[in-house]
């Protein structure tokens, strides 16, 4: 194993636009880098990396992504195709901000803050520090959380004050461009009490098959009665290493919905944690994966019920073709005293090839009473009778198979409850199939 994942000195010193201080490298980033180098690389015997092809984690050779030239900038801007109606948009390429279309004046007057991460850190240091990477990665990705903290240069910061509802979705595009580059997108959403917002992150590579490293963090904070819908479309290059660490803190009577669409990457690691921290809180954790070729998509989840009367509902669906592999390891934890917890967890794998491999390891830790927990993982193939039904209508076999897989994934997408966003996701999934 190569311990020097990135050419460390180079990365650190080229990141002049350090977000946490004006200096070239903040003490926090230096500390994070130290932590990153001190932590061991995962090995096969780590429970948190069980089933994962850890040999594939050799990250030597990646360099900081460089700013893109003007022609590339223009190209990527035209390729940043989101929803027709949005409340705001930012586009980044190689961790540099390309454009920022701000929210309307009325939202700004209501106190909504929607800023690039570095600007937010400078202008709202207290708010920033109180929330920035405050929830530890605890599912095995500690080393990558430290890497992210040491390298993060770009991302979005969204603060929605008490009672403010933003009806239209907000979008952020993160492009990666160039061979062997590395990007570290960050998303921080703070929804105060009764606030409401939807944010979509699109992770895209300019070149579909260039090696790349992406190490992203998305943290959501929901105050009492807040409602946050977060969608992340991971569509990095087919040769990318993608790490993604999500934490969601759900306050009293708040409702979080998150959906991760894993479309790209070669080696994908996704960790998602929901902390049900206020009574009446609810978290819907959704994911769809299209894994083909030699892709490996490794998802680890944690539903932590910290107080009584909370709900979590997880639905992950994977479609696997060729020699693709998926891993799902999900834990439901009900803390002592977190009575009347409702926790669901369901994973479904659709195997389109005999050589594809889906691993599932659900787990429960319950230390309270009057708890309803169900979990289950199933794997299967396309039902012959379903296929015949479509064929009998004249739909060619390849299209019929795609339609069935699409339907399988669409059942997750439809849980979002936002038709334009759903339609966008369907479009992206369809585009993935027709590659």
């Amino acid at each position: 194993m190569n311990p020097a994942i990135l050419e460390s000195e180079e990365v650190l010193t080229t990141n002049a636009a350090s977000i946490l201080s004006a200096g070239p490298v903040s003490p926090e980033q230096a500390e994070a880098w130290e932590k990153f180098t001190a932590l061991p690389m995962p090995v096969r015997t780590d429970e948190a990396w069980r089933f994962a092809n850890v040999k594939d984690l050799d990250l030597g050779g990646y360099v900081p992504a460089q700013p893109v030239d003007d022609a590339t900038r223009d190209e990527l801007l035209t390729r940043s195709m989101g929803l027709a109606s949005i409340a705001g948009r930012m586009v980044f390429a190689n961790d540099q901000l390309l454009v920022q279309e701000t929210l309307g004046d009325s939202l700004r007057q209501k106190g909504v803050i929607w800023l690039p991460l570095d600007q937010a850190a400078a202008e709202n240091p207290e708010l920033f520090r109180k929330h920035f990477m405050r929830e530890e990665a605890i599912l095995g990705g500690q080393k990558f959380a430290a890497l992210h903290a040491s390298q993060v240069r770009a991302g979005t910061f969204l603060y929605v004050p008490r009672g403010v509802e933003i009806d239209l979705p907000i979008e952020a595009f993160h492009w990666e461009h160039g061979a062997n580059g590395s990007v570290f997108p960050h998303t921080l959403i703070i929804a105060e009490d009764m606030a409401k917002v939807t944010l979509i992150d699109y992770y895209e590579s300019a070149v579909p098959d260039a090696p790349a490293l992406a190490c992203a963090v998305n943290d959501l904070w929901l105050g009492a009665g807040a409602s946050v819908t977060y969608v992340c479309v991971q569509n990095w290059s087919r040769k990318a290493h993608s790490f993604q660490l999500n934490s969601t803190v759900v306050g009293r009577d708040a409702h979080s919905k998150s959906l991760f669409a894993q479309l790209g990457g070669r080696h994908v690691r996704s960790e998602s944690i929901s902390h049900l921290r206020g009574q009446g809180g609810r978290s819907d954790m959704l994911a769809v994966t299209v894994a083909e070729g030699a892709q490996e998509v490794d998802a680890r989840t944690f539903q932590i019920h910290e107080v009584p009367n909370t709900q979590s509902d997880l639905l992950y669906k994977n479609s696997l073709d060729d020699t693709a592999r998926t891993i799902f390891a999900g834990l439901i934890r009900v803390d002592p005293g977190a009575h009347r917890t409702d926790a669901y967890q369901k994973v479904r794998n659709l195997l389109l090839s005999d050589e594809a491999e889906a691993n599932s390891a659900p787990g429960l830790e319950i230390e309270a009473d009057d708890v309803r927990c169900t979990h289950g993982a199933t794997s299967g193939q396309i039902e012959q009778e379903e296929l015949f039904y479509l064929l009998s209508r004249g739909i060619p076999k390849k299209d019929a198979q795609r339609l069935i897989v699409f339907g399988f994934l669409n059942e997750v997408i439809e849980r979002l409850g936002n038709e334009p966003v759903q339609e966008k996701l369907r479009e992206l999934v369809r585009a993935r199939f027709s590659e």
Binding site: E386, F388, L390, S392
Partner: protein
């Protein structure tokens, strides 16, 4: 197997779905055992027969279901043998099956499904225009008294038995086949639905459509009056006649016919 080719070619009915001496097995069990049947375009033929006699097997075999192995015989659609074609190609050639038990396709909306089926019939690279598609679909749904909500719902998922059958006829109306095999489309329908669905089928009836109607009930044949009624027992057509044959069956059951059956001598 040798077939006598005594009849001159000009006598061959070209515009028909013609099944000749068909043998079909599931596993190593022969279910269809030398069945011959011809449905000229423009006619409605009914098949009645006891449970397990092979009616659904016949329809699946015509459609090309991979579990139903044709071990002998021919199925000609307007003179072309379709047994070598994949199921989707048969459908695009003009064949339609209304299933006895229509499948549910989770996550795929009825509209998307129909659109995919229609697009499959368009020239390469072309797609049916969206507004035209919806106009057509809504018009057909109105005839079948189906609520608009069925367009966005997943195909057959959570549909009642009768709703599924209506949905089959909706598909038939949209896909405009040359030959349709309707397998017990009447079962599970309440009295009103039977009337509506029958009216839907009758509206499609005409010189460009041949229909094979599989049913257990004479009642359906009051609504969709067949040109010919066939009785199928143990994988063969054992008797054919006019619509009065259905009445006779209703009165006397299948036993009177079964008594007549003798194993055909193997030539």
């Amino acid at each position: 197997m040798r077939e006598s080719r005594g009849a001159p070619n000009y006598e061959m009915q070209m515009s028909s779905l013609s099944i000749k001496n068909l043998h079909v097995s599931i596993g190593d069990k022969e279910i269809i055992r030398g069945l011959t049947l011809e449905i000229p375009k423009g006619e409605v033929h009914a098949i009645m027969g006891p449970n397990g006699s092979g009616k659904s097997t016949l329809s699946k075999a015509i459609g090309g279901h991979p579990d139903y192995i044709v071990t002998g015989g021919e199925v000609l659609l307007d003179g072309d043998d379709i047994l070598g074609l994949d199921p989707d190609a048969r459908a695009r050639k003009g064949l339609f099956l209304a299933f006895q038990y229509p499948m549910e396709i989770p996550g795929v909306s009825n509209a998307n499904f129909l659109r995919a089926a229609l697009n499959a019939r368009q020239p390469e690279g072309e797609e049916i225009e969206a507004t035209e598609f919806y106009a057509q679909m809504y018009a057909e749904m109105d005839k079948l008294e189906m609520a608009r909500t069925f367009t966005a719902r997943s195909v057959n998922e959570g549909f009642s038995g009768g709703e599924k059958k209506r949905n089959e006829i909706l598909q038939m109306a949209m896909l405009k086949p040359a030959y349709a095999v309707l397998d017990e489309t009447d079962s599970g329908l309440d009295i009103d639905a039977l009337r509506i669905v029958s009216a839907g089928v009758n509206a499609l009836r005409g010189p460009n459509l041949g229909i094979l109607l599989i049913t257990h009930y004479q009642r359906l044949l009051d609504y969709i009056v067949p040109d010919v009624v066939h009785v199928m027992v143990e994988g063969r057509i054992v008797r054919s006649g006019g619509k009065e044959l259905a009445l006779e069956l209703e009165e006397r059951g299948y036993d009177f016919i079964k008594d007549d059956i003798t194993e055909p001598s193997l030539a």
